[in-house]
């Protein structure tokens, strides 16, 4: 089969618009084996993926389809991650395609993710095939969907295919459109072999498995391959395709999607977006679009029990094997002991990693406040990148602090507009543009500081819009801001784990909130314990931990002494499990509570 009969495409959609259902239908129709046959490693990740309704790892599949023109086509369907945290990964998956099926739920219409994904697809110059899905629903509003296609996405309405994954309507139309509208593989004429890595997976027996799209040339077992980003060479052990199980083949040729097993063990060495070429006849230019992924969000992760340090270290190591975007290095905290500074693509990524540490690696952890990377400029012009408030230099040494921003697309019902605008204001954002989507909804484009949306923005958005609002974002520029480091002091001692970098105008409110919360969570203490929030030594908010009111055994005679001792011993053991800060014993879950819901 030549590349002429190959089509590489993906399905992009807002969560729940029916991507999974439709993919299964396409597989069924092309007699490709049932998709949900996965390796154990996939299954682990699957639980979380299902719970969150997102795809974290790619699940590509090669289908064979005899089109109405009589030819048999090789259709490679790429499954793309569906969350903004993974937008770079999405862009690489899209780069491996020439076309995209854009699903719109007929009852919901265009949503924030639909818009964001469509723009990504246009950016990759993909042929977009609009599909209005779930037309079997009584609440389907085709007219509205068509209008939104034209107005918001500038896609001619007549291109839309009406479908229902559930009822099997429009499946053939979609397959035919893929064949006829999506161009055959591009850049096949390039003189050397160029292969795009769009994902990778760690396998304990085979090491790193690279998920690839061959653009030109070919690759087979025993070739010496070269990773163009770092010049690393290794021998190819095996190549194959996804059926969707990995099936070994002799060779991968231009236009193919498949996998490569080589002598490389570590997934971190095979970076998403990198170009593989053949070592003895290497390409000179990489495929476009490669970026070093840089984590955006950082936090400290500490074992709840200091004995679990090694266990946590091993867990992070294993997670890193399969997730090159996750980085960590050791750090220590006065309050929490020895742990790790961890970097993530975004909040969801952070949550997923933390959850996997708890679930799959069975280590209880405490995390510190998440932070973004601030750019701080010293007198003399030296630029510092600070991802941990503890490392922030004395403000006197700085001439400027800059923070990262995002460009958000927010879709909201009309009647929540006011609340959303207030929320954006509260989060120090600026609304730059509004578009009417339909009679009921508006799309806002806003620029917001990344650190303001780190914790509860999405929850707040959902709550003010009664669940109807949605948001997507891309990274924006750095902007100068009046930021300060806020410390939390317990009985006068700063607790490093609670330090944060905040905007000066919001420091007092945040400080008060944090003090109140701590005062509420820390169990009553024998002594008076003051909790203060301070900026550069100046206290801006304070509260007191409740004083223990009564803790005394009424009756303590001869017969009670042994019993009583046991009780006290237990109390004492309990105390040992706490973190002692400024002579105050703080139960570890207090850290979690404070750090989680603020």
């Amino acid at each position: 089969m030549s590349a002429k009969y190959t089509r590489n495409f993906c399905i992009i959609a807002h969560v729940d618009h029916g991507k999974t259902t439709l993919s299964d239908r396409l597989l069924e129709h092309t007699n490709t084996v049932e998709q949900r046959v996965m390796t154990d490693q996939h299954l682990d990740a699957m639980d979380l993926e299902k719970e969150r309704g997102i795809t974290i790892k790619s699940h590509p599949v090669t289908m064979s389809y005899r089109a109405k023109d009589g030819h048999v086509y090789k259709l490679n369907l790429m499954d793309t991650p569906g969350h903004v945290d993974f937008s770079y990964e999405v862009s690489r998956s899209l780069a491996a395609c020439e076309g995209a099926v854009l699903l719109i739920d007929a009852a919901q219409g265009v949503e924030a993710q639909t818009v964001a994904n469509a723009h990504l697809a246009f950016g990759q110059k993909l042929k977009v095939i609009p599909v209005i899905n779930k037309i079997d629903l009584p609440s389907a509003n085709l007219e509205l969907c068509m209008r939104q296609l034209e107005d918001i996405l500038t896609i001619p309405a007549e291109e839309a295919i009406l479908a229902s994954g559930k009822s099997g309507i429009g499946i053939i139309d979609i397959l035919e459109a893929v064949v006829s509208r999506v161009p055959s593989p591009r850049w096949t004429e390039y003189p050397q072999t160029r292969i795009l890595v769009f994902d990778s997976l760690y396998d304990s027996y085979r090491g790193c498995i690279a998920y690839v799209r061959v653009f030109s040339g070919a690759i087979k077992a025993r070739d010496m391959m070269l990773l163009m980003s770092n010049g690393e060479k290794s021998e190819v052990k095996e190549v194959g395709i996804f059926m969707p199980k990995m099936v070994k083949t002799d060779i991968l040729r231009a236009g193919d999607v498949g996998y490569i097993v080589s002598t490389i063990k570590n997934t971190a060495d095979v970076k998403t977006g990198d170009t593989i070429t053949i070592a003895n006849k290497p390409a000179t230019e990489m495929l476009p679009g490669y970026k070093e992924v840089r984590p955006l969000v950082f936090c400290g992760l500490y074992p709840l029990e200091s004995d679990d340090y090694e266990k946590l270290k091993a867990a992070l190591g294993r997670l890193r094997l399969n997730d090159a975007a996750f980085v960590y290095s050791s750090e220590s905290s006065l309050a929490l002991g020895f742990g790790f500074r961890c970097g993530f693509l975004g909040l969801l990524h952070m949550e997923i990693i933390q959850e996997r540490i708890r679930r799959e690696h069975d280590v209880e952890i405490i995390s510190t406040y998440p932070s973004v990377i601030y750019h701080m400029v010293r007198h003399g012009g030296e630029l510092l990148e600070i991802d941990n408030p503890v490392n922030m230099p004395d403000p006197g040494e700085l001439i400027e602090i800059r923070e990262p921003t995002i460009r958000a697309s927010i879709i909201t019902p009309n009647d929540s507009m006011g609340d959303i605008l207030a929320l954006i204001m509260e989060k120090r954002g600026v609304c730059e543009h509004t578009d009417t989507l339909d009679m009921n909804r508006v799309m806002l484009r806003a620029v917001l500081p990344l650190n303001e949306i780190l914790v509860d923005f999405n929850d707040r958005l959902k709550s003010v819009t009664h669940g109807y609002g949605s948001m997507d974002y891309e990274l924006g520029d750095y902007q100068t801001s009046d930021l300060v480091k806020m410390d939390i002091l317990i009985n006068g001692d700063p607790v490093d784990a609670f330090s944060s970098i905040v905007h000066r105008d919001k420091a007092e409110g945040k400080g008060r909130q944090l003090c109140e919360k701590l005062a509420e969570i820390i169990p009553p203490q024998m002594f008076k314990v003051a909790i203060q929030a301070a900026i550069g030594g100046k206290v801006i908010a304070r509260d007191n931990v409740r004083e223990m009111r009564k803790d005394v055994t009424a009756k303590c005679y001869g017969g009670d002494i042994s019993r009583k001792r046991k009780l006290l011993d237990k109390q004492k053991e309990g105390k040992k499990k706490m973190k002692l800060i400024g002579k105050v014993s703080i139960p570890p879950d207090a850290f979690i509570k404070v750090l989680q819901n603020n």
Partner: protein
């Protein structure tokens, strides 16, 4: 060991020795009570008395007993002749008469005959389990006596001429108001007892009240307990009763010496099922079951539970944490001399921190709880215990 032995031996020879006898019988079980007791069957009393004799014979009595305490259960449930029999057994180990001899009596069991036997035998102190003067509360606790019986019993006890009389009261009872408690204290004071014990209700496992608590039918209210503690202390001080321990108050010279000796970590021998002992280098409790206790004795064995070996360091720690419950506090000097292995600098550190926090006071080598410290005495104890930790982990 060093040359300190003779002196220590001398000190022990002259130090007090207590005798506790547990009489494990009650007519019924009160809703709050977790002490080991049962309704006696026909021959239980005889078996019990024989057991006490057997157990006493197994004990290596180191020196004459100085204080005696009969508790329970309800020693007052025994018939006068059985009381006499038990008294004779006890006297055999006292080298004459003990300095202090307490018997706990439930008001319902007080009779002129019983009191006469006890007085005759040399009992010096009677402790009446009043608990409350409120008929409704007495009823709610499952007590077997009425308010009137309390007055009658008290009158009989006074008439019998015991040198010291104590009344036990309980507070923070479900449904009890602050006013009701103040009135209970007032009524108790009106009877002019020599001694008063006021116990904050403790929800003990395996009691009816515990069950109610776990079912949410009654609630624990720490704030209210604290308020009642403070109110009690003030009210009794005003009435001329000096507090000498968390729950105990007395007129001058009437503090219970047996209990003081216990808190000072002196030795005592316990006889009867569930009775605790602390002597001959160990601490532990007899098995809390009449039949098992008797069966053990039949094999020439005192079946004990939770036995620990007593080291000087453990005794020093316990003397501090239990001793602090006494208003007089603890004199550290003798303990420091006896236990060089204890990390005293760490203990001193902990004491200094607690003192700085207003929980402890210190005069020379004597440390005492402040009022604020007393109401959180258990937390103070755990702080101090942490300072002893290094040594206890190695012993």
């Amino acid at each position: 060991m060093s040359g300190a032995i003779p002196e220590q031996a001398k000190a022990e020879a002259s130090s007090p020795l207590g005798l506790y006898v547990h009489v494990p019988f009650c007519a019924s079980t009160c809703d709050f009570c977790a002490f080991y007791q049962k309704e006696p069957t026909a021959d239980d009393v005889a078996r019990f008395l024989r057991g006490i004799a057997d157990e006493a014979a197994l004990v290596a009595w180191p020196r004459p007993v100085t204080t005696v305490f009969w508790g329970g259960g309800t020693p007052g449930l025994l018939a006068p002749r059985h009381l006499a029999e038990l008294a004779a057994l006890v006297r055999a180990h006292c080298g004459g008469a003990p300095e202090e001899w307490t018997v706990e009596l439930a008001p319902g069991s007080v009779t002129r005959e019983r009191l006469a036997v006890l007085r005759e035998a040399g009992v010096t102190r009677v402790s009446l389990g009043v608990q409350s003067f409120q008929p409704a509360l007495l009823d709610a606790l499952g007590r077997q006596h009425t308010r009137e019986q309390v007055f009658a019993a008290h009158a009989l006890v006074r008439a019998a001429g015991f040198p010291s009389v104590n009344l036990d009261l309980m507070f923070a009872l479900p449904g009890q108001t602050a006013g009701e408690w103040a009135s209970d204290v007032r009524e108790a004071v009106a009877l002019a007892p020599d001694h008063l014990s006021t116990y904050c209700l403790t929800f003990e496992e395996d009691t009816k009240l515990w069950l109610k608590l776990s079912q949410g039918r009654v609630k624990l209210d720490v704030e209210r307990e604290a308020e009642l503690y403070e109110a009690t202390w003030a009210q009794l001080a005003a009435a001329g009763y000096a507090q000498y321990e968390v729950s105990n108050f007395a007129r001058p010279g009437h503090a219970c010496r047996h209990n003081l000796n216990t808190w000072r970590m002196h030795e005592w021998i316990g006889l009867g099922p569930s009775a605790a002992s602390q002597h001959a280098g160990w601490r532990g409790g007899n098995v809390a079951d009449l039949d098992k206790w008797i069966a053990g004795l039949a094999r020439g064995e005192r079946l004990t539970e939770d036995r620990v070996r007593l080291t000087p360091a453990l005794l020093a720690e316990d003397a501090l944490i239990f001793g602090l419950r006494m208003n007089a506090g603890v004199d550290l000097a003798p303990w420091r001399a006896r236990t060089p292995e204890v990390p005293w600098p760490m203990v001193e550190d902990a004491i200094a921190t607690l003192a700085a926090g207003g929980l402890l006071g210190r005069e020379g080598d004597t440390v005492r709880l402040t009022d604020r410290g007393r109401i959180v005495a258990d937390s103070v104890a755990t702080e101090l215990m942490a300072a002893f930790e290094p040594i206890l982990e190695t012993t």
